[in-house]
């Protein structure tokens, strides 16, 4: 089991040593969750820390506990054991209504997040819950619809929108509540390739603003490659975490977690078999550059098999 988790900071905090500047956005300490009415544990002593502004991808086979984890962080479920902290503050029945304002969550089914009769009404729903004035609501609706590129769809009924458009509307509705943490539960899984790619690019843009901490559950290798950190979940625990490029190059790990290895990996392996090893890369650009570099070197033994 590869475990790159750095527990040092967590240990310090146990002794009450906190540093306001680097309070993690999300902290899960040894959380356990049981399915109601059974002894089956969906989460089994899982610990995870997400730094502010980080984009973490959660991956693993269905039933590994990743969806449960994300719901726990959103306060939709309560942990049976352990605790969840958002910006250092403990999440419990009392604090959830207040802390919830910091968290925005998107689900996979575009239709079943759409409450309003039009896009404008749907974005307004969350803002009404926040108790904003009509003027403020109007301003935010326009601003975030424009941001998502759906300003022209404000009067559209969901039945007249494609899955991709509905998901963008859902994103606008969540962003309009101005959360600092975004949780995405396989938000692109029901979209066609184009729409998914567009969605992925948008999430990347959000990450680069530095204003959001993002945790996304996904099966999509391309999304994993964009994230800062990849966390592989299995049997309710963190099995491995680290740089996506590194983890995605480990075939055994991928097999264990039911993730399809990126094509470029197979390509690198074939090159090695043909006597032109360039190392194992999960990133296409890196692989091409490595191949190019190996040609300029002219000596095939220049690299060997390195993971990087």
């Amino acid at each position: 089991m590869i475990n790159f988790t750095n527990n040092d900071r967590q240990d310090l905090r146990q002794y009450g040593v906190t540093d306001g500047a680097d309070v993690p956005a999300i902290e899960c300490r040894n959380v356990a969750c049981r399915r109601p009415g059974s002894t089956v544990r969906t989460l089994d002593g899982l610990s995870l820390t997400v730094r502010r502004g980080e984009w973490v991808c959660l991956a693993g086979r269905n039933g590994s506990g990743k969806s449960t984890l994300v719901r726990l962080i959103a306060g939709l479920l309560a942990a049976d054991e352990g605790e969840v902290r958002i910006d250092g503050e403990r999440l419990d029945a009392r604090s959830i209504p207040r802390i919830r304002g910091k968290i925005g969550m998107l689900f996979s089914e575009p239709d079943d997040q759409f409450v309003g009769l039009t896009v404008a009404d749907d974005i307004a729903f969350g803002l009404e819950n926040l108790g904003l004035s009509r003027e403020e609501m109007e301003a935010r609706i326009l601003r975030y619809a424009e941001l998502l590129g759906i300003g022209h769809l404000l009067d559209r009924h969901p039945a007249a929108m494609s899955g991709g458009q509905k998901q963008l509307a859902a994103m606008a509705a969540v962003l309009a509540m101005e959360p600092s943490i975004l949780l995405l539960d396989e938000a692109g899984s029901m979209l066609d390739d184009r729409a998914r790619s567009h969605f992925r690019t948008f999430v990347n843009r959000l990450r680069s603003t530095g204003r959001y901490t993002i945790v996304s559950v996904t099966h999509d290798a391309e999304e994993m490659m964009l994230a800062d950190r990849l966390v592989l979940v299995a049997e309710g625990r963190v099995m491995a975490e680290g740089e996506p490029q590194r983890l995605l190059a480990d075939e055994q790990l991928l097999a264990d977690c039911r993730i399809a290895p990126p094509f470029v990996l197979a390509f690198c392996r074939e090159l090695a078999r043909l006597g032109r090893p360039i190392g194992l890369h999960a990133d296409e650009r890196k692989a091409v550059d490595a191949l190019w570099a190996s040609l300029s070197n002219k000596s095939p033994s220049g690299f060997g098999t390195e993971i990087g």
Binding site: R71, A74, L76, P97, R100, G101, I103, G104, M105, F107, E109, D111, D112, Q113, F114, V115, G116, L117, A120, D121, A124, F125, G126, L127, E128, N129, L130, G131, L132, S133, R134, M137, H157, P158, A159, A160, A173, V174, M177
Partner: protein, 261 residues
């Protein structure tokens, strides 16, 4: 998708009635219903009918449309009229045909009952003709607010969600129907067993799907800060104008007619 389902009978027009606050329109309907209930003479019926016709014309929707609204309930109108004609024995004998005797009193009350029913049905159609379904549900919510903000908020959200999902679920039903037809579902099947199987194949999956949707929707709503009973503001609101007060007061006329003529 194609073949959009149009909910309700809303017909967009530029008319003073369309522009009225839906709450005023709903309340005025109640006043009108009271007026109709109080009619018991030809003069009263005529006056209230004239009032109704003038407003219907003002709504810029054809009188024919209003009359057509009666059609589905025509049997009820006829039934009510016949009932009165056959069993009200006041007044003098007017018609005798074999075992059936109709008295003048019965004739009057029968005709007036029929007229009242037709007035009622055709005029209340104005509410749905001139108001979008969404506005109606919000109007109902708005009118109930004085009786309990939390309950009225909850009702408004519920009705809004129902409206939002009806076209979606209808489309899903259409897709489901096609899928089951492709497995040999035959609604023309005369046998009882066949019909039962057909219904099960359509209703069971649709029901499961609706339950699943509502669970997912509830999660999403909760994640967006919705809490039952918690105070919330409103994005869309009606603005009550003087014209709406005037409109409401106008409806005291038919009530007055019904009482004093």
């Amino acid at each position: 998708m194609n073949g959009k389902l149009t909910l309700g009978r809303y017909a967009a027009r530029e008319s003073p009635i369309h522009r009225r606050d839906p709450r005023a329109k709903t309340l005025s309907m109640f006043l009108f219903m009271i007026a109709v209930f109080l009619i018991d003479g030809y003069a009263e019926a005529a006056a209230v009918s004239l009032f109704a016709v003038i407003l219907m014309l003002a709504s810029r929707i054809s009188l024919a449309s209003y009359l057509k609204a009666i059609r589905p309930l025509l049997f009820l109108v006829v039934f009510v009229a016949l009932f009165q004609m056959l069993f009200d024995r006041s007044g003098t004998k007017w018609l005798e045909a074999g075992p059936v005797t109709v008295y003048s009193g019965g004739l009057d009350s029968g005709l007036i009952s029929a007229l009242r029913m037709m007035l009622f049905i055709s005029f209340t159609a104005m509410l749905t003709f001139t108001t979008e379904p969404d506005q109606l549900t919000r109007a109902i919510g708005g009118l109930l607010r004085p009786f309990g903000r939390a309950a009225s908020d909850r009702l408004t959200v519920m009705l809004g969600i129902a409206l939002r999902f009806i076209p979606t679920i209808f489309e899903e039903g259409e897709r489901l129907y096609k899928a089951q037809v492709s497995r040999g579902l035959n609604l023309q099947d005369k046998s009882l067993a066949g019909k039962a199987r057909a219904m099960l194949a359509l209703l069971a999956p649709l029901t499961v799907s609706v339950f699943r949707r509502s669970l997912r929707l509830a999660e999403s709503m909760e994640a967006r800060g919705y809490r039952i009973g918690a105070p919330r503001t409103r994005y869309r609101a009606f603005r009550w104008q003087t014209a709406d007060t005037a409109y409401l007061i106008l409806f005291l006329l038919p009530v007055a007619f019904a009482v004093w003529l």
